[in-house]
């Protein structure tokens, strides 16, 4: 069994995944996790929540897969696919190997909110069972790089 920490990709306030305004995330259809309601203080750089390879990289969402195959999805806002990359600046390329805490995408949560979308950031342990997650951080403020939860698999 391996166990590792999953970090907050952005500064903000931790909320329950169930409180994300999107049924796919709220019902944990792609996996359990937490979400962060990001600070609206201007552009922020989302960082990798775990070390590994960027197996998927969209402007508004990315998946980092650890060496043993665990995938963590970070989704920057809800319905942000509709922005077609506008306002998102990538620092890495798909396939790159990154350290936990490495810069991935710079974006502006306030601008996403101004476009009428929620900037909430779900952080999802893909295809994990809820019992594999431990130490879930309680609702409240968090910095980028703070531990959101631990994944044992």
């Amino acid at each position: 069994m391996t166990q590792f920490d999953v970090l907050s990709p952005v500064p903000g306030r931790v909320i329950e995944l169930a409180d994300v305004p999107d049924p796919v995330f709220a019902q944990a259809l792609v996996g359990p996790g937490l979400a962060v309601d990001p600070d609206r203080s201007g552009p922020v750089t989302a960082v990798a929540p775990v070390p590994g390879r960027l197996v998927k990289l969209h402007p508004h969402a990315f998946v980092v897969q650890t060496d043993d195959g665990a995938g963590v999805l970070t989704h920057l806002g809800i319905d942000t696919v509709q922005l077609a990359g506008e306002g998102f600046r990538l620092h890495v390329a798909e396939g790159d190997v990154v350290a936990a805490g490495a810069a991935v995408v710079t974006w502006d949560p306030a601008a996403v909110e101004a476009s009428g979308r929620s900037p909430v950031v779900p952080v999802v342990a893909l295809e994990a069972t809820p019992g594999q997650l431990g130490g879930l951080r309680a609702a409240g403020p968090a910095e980028a790089g703070d531990v959101l939860f631990t994944w044992a698999r």
Binding site: V24, F25, L29, V55, K56, A61, H75, V81
Partner: protein, 76 residues
């Protein structure tokens, strides 16, 4: 049948698709006739869930959505 073929069939076939667009976790699909969509078959094809609202059917397939959408477009 591969996953893309199964999903396309369960959505009522190419003739039922108005638009199909991948997101990070799902295929956002607009169909002509929602009654032709077979949720059970979508789940059997590997979908984690299906969220329907009128003619918009979101098929939750996880991060492979973009690959599957490309495969489906190739079949249409």
């Amino acid at each position: 049948m591969d996953k893309a073929e199964q999903i396309l069939k369960a959505l009522g076939g190419a003739g039922n698709i108005v638009e199909i667009e991948p997101c990070a976790t799902r295929l956002r699909t607009e169909v002509h006739d929602a009654a032709l969509v077979d949720e059970k078959a979508l789940k059997a094809a590997g979908a984690f869930g299906v969220i329907s609202a009128g003619q918009v059917v979101q098929v939750v397939v996880g991060p492979e959505a973009d690959t599957i959408a490309t495969d489906i477009e190739d079949l249409m």
